[in-house]
Symmetry: C2
DNA sequence: CTATGATTTGAACGACCGTTTAGTTATCAA
DNA sequence: TTGATAACTAAACGGTCGTTCAAATCATAG
């Protein structure tokens, strides 16, 4: 056997990435074999190498795409004039974006250690850029005198950790809607910085 | 060669657990081989099986010990009368305890998916117990009318995520002491629940 | 000093790993 | 309809995996 009927790289390519995303999120990068990914796609292991240089690149590409999407989605948000409104927008955006793609988020936070040194540096830089967005808001709020953050970096990390944590417990169809969850988190964020 | 001079199970046993803790935290359970752990201990792979039934038990034992220590350390804390003081004690305890043992914390949060079903259930129960401690404090505070938490479970998860996040960025010898960090986190916790 | 048990080695087991390659079949433009 | 090329299989590569076990050496009680 060889090429299968109806096979096209524009179809198989995305399916490879989707399968890898799903399996990496469920079992972890190191615990998932190329053969498992191939089986999920419905293909033999060798065929994967038409779509990725190697396993490491597959992980990196997923993370890269996720971080790019995160940054560009935030950049596309409307920018309010005052810091408190921008902080609210950030909180709501962060929660909505993360709830939308739990697998990618999970991988981006858990598989950093499985990246090669160069790949890690690249992803880390993107993450820092995102954190910088929140930092800038807090800095502005401090300057405006509308919130208090004794240590901007600490507050940034604390708020991001709190917000990202929503993915560890929230499930659709539970007692709270996504909007209700975002409302409560925003209240907590506001309280935490005294705004 | 066979038995080495000066070999004793009371020495090698702890060294096996210490090596596993360190390597699992650095590279992840699935990415670490029994031979790597053995090399860290200075022993051949086969010798590890005098100290653990298998690799899975090694992971489980580490997690179990960590969760037991967490729960008993919290239980040993003095209990204040009012909810706000108990909340402050919890926040400070959580940060101090987690900063003290970053490797164990990291494993306990990251390697849950590598546990067998039964082992996962056991660890999850312990984690729930710990979360229940914070939940009870929030519940009491709500009853006392000294804080506001629209959804106790959400607030519990949000606060724990925020506090645990300290391990992702804090390093000893930086610009803030552990106590200073705890002070700021406690201020944020208090603000987040409007206390 | 001896004998018993504790501790470890070294080799081996079958299974699975990521990756490469030659060969085969489907697609599609001309 | 043909020929080129895209997509895939099947098999194989050397290596590593977790785990077991007989044999060897050390510690120690009597």
């Amino acid at each position: 056997m060889a090429r299968k009927t109806g096979s096209h790289s524009e179809i198989t390519g995305p399916r490879v990435r989707a399968a890898a995303l799903k399996l990496f999120a469920r079992h972890g990068f190191a615990a998932v074999s190329m053969r498992q990914i191939a089986a999920e796609v419905g293909v033999q292991a060798g065929a994967l190498y038409l779509y990725t240089k190697d396993k490491q690149s597959l992980l990196y590409d997923l993370m890269q795409a996720h971080m790019d999407e995160l940054l560009s989605a935030w950049a596309a948000q409307p920018k309010a004039d005052d810091a408190v409104s921008r902080l609210e927008a950030f909180a709501r955006f962060h929660i909505q974006f993360h709830l939308e793609r739990p697998d990618a988020v999970f991988i981006a936070y858990m598989e950093l250690r499985n990246l090669s040194d160069e790949n890690f540096a690249a992803i880390e830089a993107l993450r820092r850029r995102y954190e910088g967005e929140l930092e800038a808001i807090l800095q502005a709020g401090q300057a405006e005198g509308v919130l208090s953050a004794p240590d901007i970096r600490l507050t940034t990390m604390a708020l991001i950790a709190m917000l990202t944590g929503v993915n560890t417990w929230y499930r659709d169809g539970g007692r709270l809607s996504r909007d209700a969850v975002a409302d409560i988190y925003w209240d907590m964020v506001r309280g935490a910085v005294g705004a």
